[in-house]
């Protein structure tokens, strides 16, 4: 079904899955059928996931998956073919060119044909080798590390259940294009996570934890897993006594996790140029305009090694770099891929990411952060707040990019009264309008860092890193 190099070891970096001669001939034939651009991108994934439930192995799943996507631009429209049957791709060239032309033929006169911004053409390979290749980690090691989390998370009679998970992946990508691009790159991601459920006669509560990023076993070894599990246990027990959140417009302090989710949802998504071009972003037409407080500077940086959203090359073959989306409150850039870069006359900035080999690239975030400010710590941020909320840990968020409204939820929270943290709160969520709340950010601590790893859904799911400093918002809708 697939072409595969023979004789390569399971942890080899030299394996090549695409037959260069055959595939380059196929790309050439696409041009002869009338395409202006064609590419074949393959991704081979070696994955492992392990789950421990109450200290017992629930499942361990090793996997080898491979997929490739043929993407063809003809008459200014895209035709795409995705398959696990990689060797069959040359047979799909003509029909995919035909598909693209059929889409182009239906383009309304008011729409412009799709064109791609120029990018440098490379023939090379880049491997972000982990210090400890995660593919060499045996099951016993993974189980032992997960058991560390379990033991410390379970150390109280009120804890009724602990589940811990491990996931790792080695991602190998090959990209060949009709422009002569021939790039191969690889990197790894590793993560541990868990959920603690507690009950004390009343309703159950739960708390989630995650640690991981781009890298191999060394990432997990660098984490104090007993503390990770112990902190989750303590948080879950605290939630048992937590009260329902007040509702209304209140001053809010968000920890690093929530600051990251906030900036991902409220700003990052509306900055995705494919949404802007589709008319589905509240930031349409606002490049160069002041949209936030002077203290707000936001970057998206796939080169931040260790971040869960890091990658060396984007899925159109462009070297990654840091992108500054907001500088001192001014919107300075969109996240874009080649199509939107041309559409807006911007420099391509390597924002093209696909979920895997079977999906075409969309404009996506990577590691998105608010940069640090002037405050020394949370005490300084809180001292002027008479009545507000300190929210910590993320349960995720969502945005309506067109309307510019967003929501994110905290794992736990506290009331702030007269500058002091007081009552624990549960199930706190925060919502607001992007263009309003960026102006309401009025305090940031100095220490910006990436927080827990996360996942972002936009039809396709990709790993992302988010973070920043501890942040104060003058007034947010808390519920």
């Amino acid at each position: 079904m697939v072409i595969q190099s023979e004789g390569a070891s399971p942890t080899s970096y030299s394996t090549r899955y695409l037959d260069r001669t055959k595939m380059n001939n196929a790309l050439s034939s696409a041009l002869s059928f009338g395409a202006s651009y064609a590419e074949i991108r393959l991704m081979a994934e070696t994955t492992s996931s392990v789950r421990l439930k109450d200290g017992q192995l629930e499942h361990a799943i090793p996997g080898q998956e491979i997929g490739a996507t043929l993407r063809i631009l003809a008459d200014g429209a895209w035709g795409v073919h995705s398959t696990t049957d990689v060797s069959n791709i040359p047979n799909e060239i003509e029909s995919t060119v035909r598909l693209a032309k059929a889409v182009a033929a239906r383009r309304p006169s008011s729409s412009n044909p799709i064109q791609l911004a120029e990018i440098p053409i490379h023939q090379d390979e880049i491997h972000w080798k982990s210090k400890k290749d995660v593919r060499n980690t045996d099951l016993d090691t993974k189980l032992s590390m997960l058991d560390n989390i379990h033991q410390s998370a379970n150390d109280d009679q009120r804890i009724i259940s602990v589940s811990c998970g491990w996931s790792d992946e080695h991602l190998h990508t090959e990209l060949l294009t009709s422009e002569g691009m021939d790039r191969t790159w690889s990197f790894q991601r590793s993560m541990v996570n868990g959920m603690v459920t507690a009950r004390d006669g009343g309703d159950p509560v739960s708390y989630r934890m995650r640690h991981g990023g781009e890298g191999g076993l060394e990432l997990i070894e660098s984490c104090d897993l007993e503390t990770l599990g112990g902190d989750a246990r303590i948080a879950a027990l605290r939630l048992l006594k937590a009260e329902r959140s007040p509702s209304g417009k209140l001053p809010l302090i968000a920890d690093r996790d929530l600051t990251g989710v906030y900036i991902h949802e409220a700003l990052g998504h509306p900055c995705e140029a494919d949404l802007v071009a589709a008319g589905d972003s509240c930031l349409d037409g606002k490049l160069g305009q002041k949209i936030g407080n002077d203290i707000v500077t936001v970057v998206d940086d796939p080169t931040l090694r260790g971040g869960y959203g890091a990658y060396p090359i984007d899925d159109e073959g462009l070297d990654t770099r840091e992108k500054t989306l907001i500088k001192n409150g001014v919107l300075t850039d969109y996240l874009n891929h080649r199509e939107t870069a041309h559409h807006f006359g911007l420099e391509p900035n390597a924002g093209a990411r696909a979920q895997d080999g079977l999906h075409h690239p969309l404009v996506r975030m990577s590691n998105t952060m608010i940069m640090g400010g002037n405050f020394n710590g949370i005490d300084e941020l809180m001292e002027d707040i008479e009545y507000g909320v300190y929210a910590c840990g993320s349960r995720g968020g969502q945005v309506d990019t067109g309307r510019g409204s967003f929501q994110f939820a905290a794992q736990e929270a506290y009331l702030i009264e007269n500058g002091e943290i007081t009552t624990p709160l549960r199930d706190v969520s925060v919502s607001g309008l992007t263009l309003q709340i960026l102006n309401d950010v009025d305090g940031l601590t100095k220490d910006a860092k990436l927080a827990s790893p996360g996942f972002c859904g936009k039809g396709q799911t990709v790993p992302v890193g988010d973070g920043g400093p501890i942040m104060r918002i003058r007034e947010a809708l808390v519920g």
Partner: protein
């Protein structure tokens, strides 16, 4: 769209892997193979931006040795030796589950409506024409309205299961789905609405969700200002609004393992009243054309319709054969057997207990949306919510946001409000003073099932926090 020999190819692959299981002297094994084929198009900014096609699939192998189980997945059967060895080594590290055996072959009958030849015959041009028709329909309903996002997809999936216990099953199912994000962006005001529809059969013409999307983009324009702090109030949630919360909170709570481990809000409440006493909840895995339905579940066990909650009383929980055996052997429950509720996300996932096609029904006379609004008197209608995935599935607490909210006063729609927080506890809100709407809509389509819910009037348990 699907090769005529798709099933034969998959069966050959499964047999190849089964030979490897025999060679490695594995006593019990179960192999699944699936191959999906599809066509789709994306719509952006009022035009079709991309069309695609393709196929993907692979194999999953579950083995059992002395009650210990292991799993591995692969794309190419040439990797069978490695995959089976990996599954075996994992089994050796797994705890033994006394009494756990892979399901034996049992007689089943097919479920109707899973395959529509019209989908198999649909050409790429036919799909593009449907896309054009939808874009035109939106413009004809309101010249200001544009489809700014969404798409249409058709798919066919061939699947095979082969096991050492004598199961050899295969089938082909089809699907047709569409989703549209319609926006009206004029006079410095943008409103939008996302709606979707899906079917195992070809949806001919323009599905009703397209006009609903236009309608909600229109309805939410020119929001009114209301002077209100957060208020506990009656709320009507449309079927779309409630479905995502239902998926995140109610569906996990009826899984056997969560119940017996105390992880469900309903743990320890078997045979107690947990919902308003006119409500019945069923998981019907034999629903004609159901997305969570089929003649066998993910382990090959024949499916059935399970009544989980009957007239408000919790009667049952859902089990796969493995979870049932495991929790009995661990003493968490005296007896449990498979309810035919094993689900698989894909060949990459081992079977786990899951819900299929879940229905919430009432024995009272259902109400139309107008009747609900009249009954409510003063309150809100919430159509869609953001952040349902942030709900707490254990406690049932949620706090989400909606930009499609209508203010109701004296039984009349006063107008939309721009944004509001919606919070509460779904278990408690469904426990009393609930009324259901007249017709249910399929919502929340996924590889493991769907909800069939009507609009719901909650007379208590909901808080609205206007922005």
């Amino acid at each position: 769209m699907i090769p005529e020999d798709a099933i034969e190819r998959l069966l050959d692959g499964c047999k190849e892997i089964s030979k490897e299981c025999e060679l490695q002297h594995i006593s019990e094994w179960e192999i699944v193979g699936s191959q999906g084929y599809g066509r789709s198009l994306d719509i952006e900014a009022g035009r079709i931006s991309l069309a695609s096609g393709g196929g993907e699939g692979g194999f999953g192998v579950r083995i059992l040795e002395n009650g210990r189980y292991g799993y591995a997945h692969l794309v190419d059967v040439s990797g069978a030796t490695h995959a089976v060895s990996q599954a075996l080594s994992i089994a050796k590290a797994s705890p033994s589950i006394p009494g756990f055996s892979l399901p034996s072959s049992q007689k089943t009958s097919p479920v109707d409506g899973m395959l529509d030849d019209a989908i198999l015959k649909l050409s790429p041009d036919d799909l593009l024409t449907q896309g054009d028709d939808i874009i035109s329909e939106v413009a004809s309903l309101d010249e200001r309205a544009v489809v700014i996002g969404g798409g249409i997809g058709i798919g066919a999936e061939a699947s095979v299961m082969l096991s050492s216990q004598g199961i050899e099953a295969s089938g082909i199912s089809t699907s047709h789905g569409l989703g549209v994000q319609v926006s009206i962006d004029v006079d410095d005001q943008m409103t939008s609405s996302w709606e979707s529809s899906s079917s195992r059969k070809l949806m001919k013409g323009i599905p009703g969700c397209v006009s609903t999307a236009v309608e909600w983009a229109q309805k939410t324009r020119n929001p009114i200002e209301i002077q209100s702090d957060a208020v506990d109030t009656p709320v009507v949630m449309t079927s779309q609004g409630i479905s995502s919360l239902f998926s995140n909170i109610i569906r996990p709570s009826i899984l056997g393992e969560r119940m017996v481990r105390g992880e469900s809000y309903w743990s320890g409440k078997l045979n107690e009243v947990v919902l308003d006493n006119h409500l019945t909840m069923m998981d019907d895995r034999r629903m004609e054309g159901g997305f969570g339905s089929g003649s066998r579940d993910g382990e090959g066990v024949p499916t059935s319709c399970q009544t989980i909650i009957e007239n408000g009383t919790l009667r049952k929980m859902l089990w796969s054969s493995r979870d049932a055996a495991k929790n009995v052997s661990e003493g968490r429950i005296d007896s449990a057997t498979s309810t035919g509720s094993a689900s698989r996300g894909s060949h990459m996932s081992p079977p786990v207990t899951g819900c299929g096609d879940v229905h919430l029904l009432t024995s009272k006379a259902p109400m139309s949306l107008d009747e609900m609004i009249e009954t409510m008197g003063t309150g809100f209608v919430v159509h869609s919510v953001m952040g349902a995935h942030t709900a707490n599935p254990t406690s049932g607490d949620f706090s989400v946001t909606s930009s499609t909210v209508l203010r109701i006063e004296d039984g009349e729609i006063l107008g939309p409000i721009k944004q509001a927080g919606v919070s509460g506890n779904l278990f408690k809100a469904l426990s009393k003073d609930v009324s259901l709407g007249t017709s249910s809509t399929r919502n929340g389509v996924s590889s493991t099932g769907t909800n069939h819910l009507s609009d719901i009037l909650f007379s208590q348990g909901m808080r609205i926090n206007p922005a």
